[in-house]
C-alpha cells in the first residue's frame, strides 16, 4: 500500500491557501482520496479528474463551477497514477497523439507540408483552369482592354503596317472564335504578344528578323492560339487561386487585390507556362497545316532567333526560351505528317510590303 500514498498540495478553489494533504489512490474503487484541513473526507472518481503533467508537477483539476486543485510532485506516485489510468483506458486520444513524440510529429508536419505542396503545384492549377469555363468571355475582353489602355500610351503604332498585317491575317484561317485585331508597333524589340481580348501586338523588330512569310504565319498562329485557348485568363486564375490558397493556409487574404492589379499591369511580361507554350506551338502548327503554309517556317523562325542569341528575349519565347526541345518537337511533326503546301502570292506580296 505504500506505493499508493503520497503527500500533495490542495487548493480548495475559494482561496489560495495551500493545504498539505495525504493523497491515496484506491485502485479498487478507482478513486483518489484525501482529507481537507477542516476534516472533510473527499473521494474523487479518477475518470472525473482532469490530469495535466507540467514542469511544476502533476496537476489535478476537479469540479466545474468551483474548481479544486491538487499538485503532486512525487514522481513515483505520478507514475502509479499514469499506469492506472492507462490500464483503465482513461488516456484521451488527443494525449495519445501528443505522446507519439517529436519524430512522429516532425513526420506529420512534413506530410502535411507535402500535401499542401502537391495541392499548390497540381490540384489548384487544374481546378483553376476548369473554373475558367465558368467565366464569361467578355471578362477576357475587359482585361485585355484595360491592359491595352494602360500600355497604349507607350506604344508607337505603325498604322500603315498595322493595316497590312490585318490584310495578311484576313487571308488566313486562324481558327479564332473571337475577332482578332492585329497591331504593328515600331520598336527594335524582337517581340510579339497576345492580349486576352484578341489584340495581337507585333513589334517591327521581330518582323525584320523574318525571311519568309511562312514564319509570320507561324508567329500569328502561335499568338492566335494563346487567345483561342484563353491562356491569359487561365494564367490569371492560376496565380489568383494559388495566391488564395497560400493566403488561406497562412491566414492572410490581403494580397488578392494586389495580384489582380499586378496581372492586369504586366500582361506583356506575363509569362505563360511551358505547357501553354507547347499548346500554342502545337495549335499554331495545325493552323499552318490548315492554311497549307509550309510549317517549316515556324521552326526556321525559332532556329534563327536562337542562333542570333538575342539579349532581349521575345515574349513568345520568354521564360521558355527556344529550347532544342521546342524546335525538335516541330521538326518531328513536320516529318511525321503529310504536308501539302501551296503558293500564297498574296501573302508573299503583303509580307514583302511589311518588310519595307
Amino acid at each position: 500500500m505504500m506505493n499508493n500514498k503520497t503527500t500533495a498540495v490542495f487548493y480548495d478553489g475559494n482561496s489560495s491557501v495551500p493545504q498539505q494533504i495525504e493523497l491515496s489512490l484506491n485502485k479498487l474503487n478507482a478513486t483518489l482520496e484525501f482529507q481537507m484541513s477542516d476534516g472533510t473526507h473527499c473521494k474523487w472518481l479518477v475518470k472525473d479528474v482532469f490530469f495535466d503533467k507540467r514542469a511544476t508537477g502533476l496537476h489535478l483539476k476537479y469540479g466545474s463551477e468551483v474548481i479544486q486543485h491538487i499538485k503532486i510532485k512525487d514522481d513515483h506516485f505520478i507514475n502509479t497514477i499514469h499506469h492506472f489510468r492507462r490500464e483503465n483506458g482513461h488516456i484521451s486520444w488527443y494525449q495519445k497523439l501528443l505522446d507519439l513524440g517529436f519524430a512522429a510529429h516532425f513526420g506529420i508536419a512534413l506530410a502535411i507540408l507535402g500535401i499542401i505542396g502537391l495541392c499548390y503545384v497540381y490540384v489548384i492549377p487544374w481546378a483553376a483552369e476548369q473554373s475558367v469555363n465558368l467565366i464569361p468571355e467578355e471578362y477576357d475582353n475587359k482585361l485585355g482592354n484595360s491592359a491595352w489602355a494602360g500600355n497604349e500610351y507607350f506604344m508607337n503604332v505603325d498604322s500603315k503596317k498595322t493595316k497590312l498585317l490585318n490584310d495578311f491575317a484576313k487571308q488566313l484561317n486562324l481558327k479564332n472564335t473571337k475577332n482578332l485585331k492585329f497591331i504593328v508597333v515600331k520598336s527594335d524589340e524582337i517581340n510579339a504578344f497576345a492580349l486576352p481580348d484578341g489584340r495581337i501586338v507585333v513589334f517591327t523588330g521581330i518582323l525584320e528578323e523574318m525571311k519568309n512569310y511562312n514564319e509570320l504565319v507561324g508567329l500569328l498562329g502561335h499568338e492566335a492560339s494563346h487567345v483561342n485557348n484563353r491562356h491569359s485568363m487561365k494564367m490569371l486564375c492560376r496565380s489568383l487561386s494559388g495566391y488564395l490558397f497560400i493566403s488561406v493556409i497562412l491566414g492572410d487574404a490581403n494580397g488578392i487585390m494586389a495580384t489582380i492589379g499586378d496581372n492586369i499591369n504586366s500582361f506583356q511580361s506575363l509569362s505563360f507556362s511551358r505547357e501553354f507554350e507547347r499548346q500554342a506551338d502545337a495549335d499554331g502548327f495545325k493552323i499552318l497545316l490548315a492554311n497549307k503554309v509550309n510549317p517549316q517556317g515556324m521552326s526556321n523562325l525559332f532556329k534563327r532567333l536562337k542562333q542570333n542569341n538575342f539579349v532581349s528575349i521575345p515574349e513568345f519565347l520568354s521564360s521558355h526560351p527556344v529550347t532544342e526541345n521546342r524546335i525538335e518537337y516541330i521538326d518531328k511533326m513536320v516529318k511525321n505528317q503529310k504536308i501539302t503546301t501551296i503558293n500564297h502570292p498574296q501573302l508573299e506580296s503583303l509580307f514583302a510590303k511589311l518588310k519595307q
Binding site: Y11, G13, S15, S16, T56, E65, K71, Y94, H105, I112
Partner: protein, 319 residues
C-alpha cells in the same frame, strides 16, 4: 494569515514550456484542423492557450486556462452571425438605394465591433484564467468602454492619427485597470505624452541608425509596459520591473528570425517558447502582498464571442 507581508519579497515568474512539447501540440492541432477542414480550430486554439498558461508559473504554481474548444466554437458561431448581420444591414440599405446611409451605418457598426470584441475577449480570457484556483476577472463596463472607444477614435481621426499614442495609453489604463486577480487589483499608469515621446524618439533614431535602434525602441516599449504595471490590495502592492536590455532584444529577435528562416517556419514553436521564456526571465516582481491569502471574488464567464470576434479582427496584440 496576514494579508500583507512585513518585508518586501520577490516573486518568481517563470515559463517552463518546452519547444518540442509545444511543437507536438501545434502539429497535432494542425493535423486535426486540416482533417476536419478547419472545424477543429477553436479546440486547437484552446489547447494551445492551455499549454502556454499551464507552462507559466508564479512562485512555482502554474497558471491555468479553463477555456474549452466548445465555448470557443459557440463564440465562433455567434461571431459569424454578428458579421452576417453587419453585412445584411449593408445589403439592405444598398437594396433600398440608400448607399450613403448604408456605408455610414456599416462603418459605425464595424467600429463598434472593436470595443465589443476587446471587452468580450478580456472578460472571457480573464475569467477563464486562474492561479491556485483563484480566478482572474475583468470588471470593465461594456457601454462605458464603447463610448470611450468612440471618443478616442474620433480624436485620433480628427488629429490624423497624432492622438494614437494617447488612445493606446487610455485604453491600456482602462483595460488593465479593470483586471482583478481574486481580491487583488491591477493598475496601469500609462501617460500618452510619455508614450508619444518614446515612440517619436524610437522612430527617428531607428531611421537614423538604419533600423539598428529598433531593438532599443522595442526594449523601451517593453519596459514601458512592464514598469507601469502594478497590483494592489489594501496596503499591499506588487511592482514590476523590466531587466531586458536592447542587446537582449537584439539577440532574441535575430535568433528568432534565423530559426524561422532556417526551419522554413517549422521552428515557430521554439520561437514562441524562447520569447515567452525571455519575457518572464526579464520581468521582476517585488512587493508585500501575501499570495497565500488570495480569495475568490470573480465570477465565471463562459461566453467566448468577444474572443472569437477579436480573432477575426486580428486583435491579438491588444491583449
Amino acid at each position: 494569515m496576514e494579508k500583507s507581508l512585513e518585508k518586501r519579497v520577490e516573486y518568481a515568474l517563470n515559463y517552463n514550456g518546452k519547444g518540442s512539447d509545444y511543437f507536438g501540440i501545434i502539429i497535432v492541432n494542425w493535423l486535426l484542423t486540416v482533417v476536419t477542414l478547419g472545424i477543429y480550430y477553436p479546440w486547437a486554439k484552446a489547447k494551445q492557450l492551455q499549454y502556454i498558461y499551464n507552462s507559466t508559473s508564479l512562485n512555482d504554481d502554474s497558471f491555468e486556462f479553463h477555456g474549452t474548444g466548445k465555448e470557443m466554437f459557440k463564440g465562433f458561431l455567434k461571431a459569424i452571425l454578428i458579421f452576417l448581420v453587419l453585412y445584411g444591414v449593408l445589403g439592405l440599405f444598398i437594396y433600398l438605394k440608400m448607399p450613403i446611409t448604408a456605408l455610414l451605418l456599416f462603418y459605425v457598426l464595424l467600429i463598434a465591433i472593436f470595443p465589443i470584441a476587446i471587452h468580450g475577449s478580456y472578460r472571457y480570457r480573464m475569467s477563464r484564467s486562474s492561479w491556485r484556483g483563484i480566478r482572474f476577472g475583468y470588471r470593465g463596463d461594456r457601454k462605458e468602454f464603447t463610448l470611450l472607444f468612440f471618443k478616442w477614435i474620433f480624436f485620433t481621426i480628427i488629429t490624423l492619427g497624432i492622438y494614437g499614442p494617447w488612445m493606446a495609453m487610455n485604453m491600456r489604463n482602462y483595460l488593465l485597470g479593470n483586471v482583478r486577480f481574486g481580491d487583488v487589483e491591477f493598475e496601469y499608469d500609462g501617460d500618452g505624452t510619455d508614450y508619444f515621446a518614446l515612440n517619436i524618439k524610437g522612430y527617428l533614431l531607428t531611421i537614423v541608425t538604419l533600423g539598428i535602434y529598433g531593438f532599443w525602441w522595442q526594449k523601451d516599449l517593453f519596459e514601458y509596459y512592464v514598469n507601469n504595471l502594478s497590483l494592489t490590495r489594501e496596503d499591499g502592492k506588487i511592482r514590476f520591473n523590466s531587466t531586458a536590455t536592447g542587446g537582449d532584444f537584439f539577440k532574441l529577435i535575430t535568433l528568432n528570425l534565423l530559426i524561422l528562416i532556417f526551419t522554413l517556419g517549422l521552428g515557430y514553436a521554439w520561437v514562441v517558447t524562447r520569447t515567452l521564456k525571455f519575457v518572464f526571465e526579464h520581468v521582476e516582481a517585488e512587493g508585500n502582498i501575501n499570495l497565500d491569502t488570495l480569495t475568490q471574488t470573480e465570477e465565471n464567464y463562459k461566453d467566448a464571442t468577444g474572443e472569437d470576434l477579436s480573432d477575426f479582427l486580428n486583435l491579438d496584440s491588444v491583449m
